[in-house]
């Protein structure tokens, strides 16, 4: 018989390195037509980081994502970056790019001030224009300002900056300290069906509500969470590197290392929790790693809800679950007969 159950997994997760400095540097160059080029030493590993970083630069410069080109991952060309790790790119590299863009913008404001006959501090960048705060009709195209800065005044609008999340070392005896500058939170709820004759788990759906601060790009946030859940499902139910008695791997291939396929994944619903972190770029934190953290917990709690067995060792293969179901039946029987 198939039995349904539901389970919650709730978690917290930090952004950036543990205590250790993990700076990012960035260079933002506003071109003489008002487009921009960003240099970053991080690497695109599929998360969409270059897209997000371009959006952060664009937002700061008051231009559109398409106006920004991001150059990355070349130690001869791009400034240092601790890289695509620890869910830190949006938060740390994003802050560095925001600051670098602000520095480039400061040059443009200096140039635009006289053009608009106001002080630089009265200016803002918006809709590809530099405009007087509160008087959007008094404005000039960014490209015009950038061109004047570079070609007429000889002050190319180039900004660079670094950012490192502030931390406080942990006491070696008690671990007390501030290892990270910020954390994200998430809940996933799984609904499963367990076949009590075979132990097979079918995941019906997973609902995820993740905090990533304010999302820079909701599509990419959802993509991270959906992908993390798929990895979490593998971690919960299927995947395990196995060794023989001599320490040689038995299943070192994708035939026998059981990664989820399209047919193994349920419907996934992703919600982004309304949140704003003032320490992140435009309120953003990160989302890469946390996405898979609560998945196994949610699934195993749902299995427990469905058939009343607590699986304490992962992966919860159908064999483990059936064995536990049989043991529970035997124990229940005993209780009845006793």
């Amino acid at each position: 018989m198939k039995r349904r159950g539901r389970g919650i997994g709730c978690m917290w997760y930090p952004i950036g390195f543990t205590v250790t400095a993990n700076p990012s540097s960035a260079v933002v160059k506003v071109n003489e037509d008002g487009t921009a080029t960003v240099l970053t030493g991080t690497v695109e590993t599929g998360q969409g980081s270059l897209t997000v970083l371009g959006q952060i630069a664009a937002e700061t410069l008051g231009i559109a994502a398409d106006d920004v080109h991001v150059v990355s991952a070349d130690t001869d060309v791009t400034p240092m970056d601790m890289g695509a790790i620890a869910s830190r790119t949006t938060y740390v590299t994003g802050n560095a790019i925001r600051l670098a863009a602000e520095n480039a913008m400061a040059i443009l404001f200096e140039v635009a001030g006289p053009m608009l006959q106001v002080k630089p501090s009265q200016l803002e960048a918006r809709d590809r224009r530099i405009q007087v705060k509160g008087f959007p009709q008094r404005s000039v195209m960014i490209g015009e300002v950038a061109n004047r800065a570079q070609v007429t005044l000889g002050q190319p609008p180039i900004g660079s900056a670094s950012w490192n999340p502030p931390t406080v070392a942990m006491d070696p005896e008690t671990g007390q300290g501030k290892p990270f500058n910020t954390y994200v939170y998430a809940t996933q709820i799984a609904e499963v069906e367990v076949d009590d004759e075979t132990g097979e788990v079918e995941i019906i759906r997973i609902v995820a509500a993740h905090d990533c601060g304010s999302p820079i790009n909701p599509t990419l946030v959802e993509g991270q969470v959906e992908g993390g859940i798929a990895q979490g499902i593998g971690f919960a139910l299927q995947e395990e590197i196995l060794f023989d008695g001599k320490g040689l791997q038995i299943n070192s291939n994708l035939t026998n290392y059981i990664m989820p396929t399209t047919l193994d994944l349920p419907e996934i619903v992703v919600d982004i929790v309304n949140s704003y972190d003032p320490t992140g770029p435009f309120g953003a934190k990160g989302v890469g790693e946390p996405s898979l953290v609560p998945t196994a917990a949610a699934i195993l709690n749902a299995v427990h809800d469905a058939v009343g067995v607590r699986i304490t060792s992962l992966p919860a293969t159908s064999e483990k679950i059936l064995t536990a179901i049989k043991a529970k039946r035997a124990a229940d029987q005993k209780q009845i007969s006793a």
């Binding site: 959906e226 859940i229 047919l263």
Partner: protein, 168 residues
Amino acid sequence: MIDVTIVVNGETRRASVPPETTLLKLLRENFSLTGAKLGCDVGDCGACTVIVDGMAVNSCLMLAGQANGRSVTTIEGLATRDRLHPIQKAFEDNGALQCGFCGPGAIMATKALFDENSDPNVKDIRDALSGSLCRCTGYTKMIEAVQDAARILRAEAAAKPRQLELSK
């Protein structure tokens, strides 16, 4: 060495290769068509998927000699100079790919699905993509993209006869 003549993306290509050359190697190394990827080399991951005589196959599991005289479509053969194939467009619009390495294979598997079934349901789509392993996306947006592409292609197919009429 064996001589093979293959129509690749509509163009007749010839090569002389050692018999143990797979179709994947032939495409990538002899024809410089690097869209199909080597992910596992044993037909598990589907990153090397191409269409041979209308069928999606793992090009890592086919010898060049087996493909001799056949017609092969690779990811490079989908878009025209002016236009993305609707599947490619839908994958892009939906954010269906992340690292992108499985993309060419998944898109070719989708193309083969549409050649057989213009109105697939989610189950059909999951079945058609079960040979394309993806570690990034959880397949969710990929499936949405396939549904989108199917809608676009059906709409285009429905519009075609009308356009012909109008042009008369």
